[in-house]
């Protein structure tokens, strides 16, 4: 296995290259930008302390996923925060008459709920793929065999779309 040292300039390069996709991955994963920023920062802090990193991108996403998992222990608190956000968004949607904004908020809400219905591994694999990780990197980050990543992704995609369409159908039949 190929190992690299992590000197400060290398860490700077890692940050410049991967901070944005990592934050986006975490935001999609958590539904909370502030938490995503905190976890991304913690991830790079750990990278700074790490003497060697193998496959930097998969390492970063794996550490971030583990931190999310740890964060999940406080899921009830997070859930309450999400509920508050949802209520706030709904309240804002009432005072915000712009149709496209309402449509966008509704889609975001549906997407979040659909993603939340996925299994953790499926969700991580899907979000990592969206951030450009290749199958080998996803396999390393999630401790999977490379050959099973395609199956994981196909299952995750199908389940996500089924969940989304299901939620959308329920929303459509809801009385106006």
């Amino acid at each position: 296995m190929f190992f690299i040292m992590v000197p400060p300039d290398r860490l700077t390069a890692l940050f410049a290259e991967y901070h944005a996709p990592l934050v986006r991955f975490l935001t999609r994963r958590l539904g909370d930008r502030d938490a995503a920023e905190e976890i991304a920062q913690e991830t790079f802090m750990r990278a700074m302390k790490q003497e060697t990193i193998t496959s930097d991108r998969s390492w970063l996403f794996a550490v971030a996923s583990n931190l999310v998992r740890d964060e999940g222990r406080r899921s009830q608190r997070q859930q309450r925060r999400l509920e508050l956000l949802r209520e706030q968004e709904q309240a804002e949607a009432v005072v915000e008459p712009e149709p496209t904004s309402m449509e966008r908020d509704a889609e975001r809400d549906l997407a979040r709920r659909a993603v939340a219905m996925l299994g953790e591994r499926d969700r991580d694999a899907l979000l990592m793929r969206e951030e450009g990780l290749d199958y080998d990197e996803i396999a390393r980050a999630l401790d999977l065999s490379p050959g099973s990543v395609g199956t994981t992704l196909s299952r995750a995609r199908r389940r996500l779309m089924e969940a989304y369409e299901s939620l959308q159908a329920k929303q459509d039949v809801r009385p106006a």
């Binding site: 930008r33 395609g150 196909s154 299952r155 995609r157």
Partner: protein, 436 residues
């Protein structure tokens, strides 16, 4: 018998192929199978739909987030990932939902375009609007003729009153005269700081630009011809010939003055040259960086605007300033100012700043005694009464006539021609001390 090529690929393999994650051999095998298997082709199409739908759903998670971490286009944030294999299904391919053109977005774009265009047009028209406003206000308020009429006159007669572009605001005749405006209660007497504010107006800048262009042309003629002059002044008939003759006379006078100095004399030509007594201190604490005494090269009487020879030009300190005061030999204010430009070889071109007059003074290259050519003529617009100090302007304001804008423009044109036709007077310019 079923060959390996006929085995239907599983869904994971299809997704891996669409994600371009299969090696070449596996990809070729799958593609060969898809050529024969309609069922798998349908599965591929379905997988394409899932991938596209998933990307759309995950992109929806970003809605409302505005951090720099967000990048709206997946291809932009995934440069290392090849795009999905092209769709083979027929039908319209639409762009990402966020980039679709909706009526609301079209309306917003149209409003923005109109707003930007309006702002640009407004900005473009502002200077002329400012001039027009000044002229209109002046026309509507006869009482303000002394001040605003003078402002229009400055814009229209740059040679008479406008500073050069490089000069700082000059506390010269027009602002000081424009200050007291009885009958116009909203206009307070203008102290010195207001003069600077006035000079920054569009009209002054336009006038300064005109002056700059004109003095550039004249400097070329005056400075160059002064050194090649040969014809006598008496025989000169055209302005250019006059300038040549004047320059020649001035050069002769300078040579004489230098010879006198070499003999240790402190007297100069044509009336005597001596160090003046602290002219800058006479001006209530105004410091000068350099002082030049200007006198006739031929001994004949002449004036630069209203100022008779000899006089002293005191260049304002600091040295970066381009303004100068016109003083009497005794160091008293001669009620005129000048702006100057430094040309090659430290030659100088002074432009008279006195309402009612137009004038230039071209001074040759550096030296203790220099040759110069001076021109001045009354400007077409007679505004002597508005010049130089507030008390006089207050007393004489009722005698003022407010020129119309058309009249002012005509006067501006006639001013330039009048100065060009003015006789060129050869002068000797001697550097003198400014301090006591």
């Amino acid at each position: 018998m079923t060959s390996e090529r006929d085995v239907h690929p599983d869904e994971g393999t299809i997704h891996a192929w669409l994600d371009r994650q299969l090696d070449d051999l596996a990809a070729a095998t799958l593609e060969a199978h898809l050529q024969r298997c309609d069922e798998c082709a349908e599965r591929v199409a379905e997988a394409r739909g899932l991938i596209a739908g998933t990307s759309r759903v995950l992109s929806a998670l970003d809605a409302g987030t505005t951090s720099m971490s967000d990048k709206p286009v997946l291809s932009a944030v995934r440069p290392d990932v090849e795009p999905p294999r092209p769709l083979v299904l027929s039908g319209t391919v639409r762009g990402p939902r966020r980039f679709r053109l909706t009526p609301a977005r079209s309306a917003i774009a149209a409003v923005l375009v109109v707003a930007v265009a309006t702002a640009i047009i407004h900005e473009h028209e502002r200077p002329s609007g400012g001039l027009a406003a000044i002229e209109k206000q002046s026309a509507e308020r006869p009482d303000a003729a002394a001040g605003l009429g003078a402002a229009s006159a400055v814009a229209a007669a740059p040679a008479a009153a406008a500073p050069s572009p490089a000069s700082p605001p000059v506390a010269a005749p027009v602002p000081s005269a424009a200050a007291p405006l009885p009958g116009a209660p909203n206009v307070a007497p203008a102290p010195a700081p207001q003069v600077a504010q006035y000079d920054s107006t569009a009209s002054t800048r336009v006038a300064a630009a005109r002056t700059f262009a004109r003095t550039q042309r004249e400097t070329t003629v005056n400075a160059d011809l002064a050194r090649v002059a040969a014809a006598p002044a008496a025989a000169a008939s055209t302005p250019t010939e006059q300038t040549i003759a004047a320059a020649k006379a001035a050069d002769s006078a300078v040579g004489a003055a230098n010879r006198v100095e070499l003999r240790g004399s402190t007297s100069g030509v044509a009336g005597g040259v001596g160090r003046i007594a602290a002219p800058a201190r006479v001006l209530a604490g105004v410091e000068a960086s350099q002082c030049y005494r200007v006198e006739s090269a031929t001994g004949a009487a002449a004036t630069w605007g209203p100022v008779s020879l000899p006089f002293v030009l005191a260049l304002d300190a600091p040295a970066t300033s381009a303004a100068a005061r016109v003083l009497t030999p005794a160091g008293q204010d001669a009620e005129a100012r000048a702006v100057f430009e430094r040309r090659g070889g430290d030659s100088l071109l002074f432009t008279l700043q006195r309402v009612g007059y137009t004038g230039t003074l071209a001074v040759g290259a550096s030296g203790e005694v220099r040759a110069g050519v001076m021109r001045s003529a009354p400007a077409g617009l007679q505004l002597e009464s508005v010049a130089t100090n507030a008390p006089r302007a207050t007393e004489q304001k009722r005698a003022l006539r407010k020129p119309s804008a058309a009249q002012a423009r005509a006067d501006s044109a006639s001013t330039a021609s009048a100065r060009a036709a003015a006789p060129a007077v050869p002068v000797v310019v001697r550097k003198v001390g400014c301090g006591g």
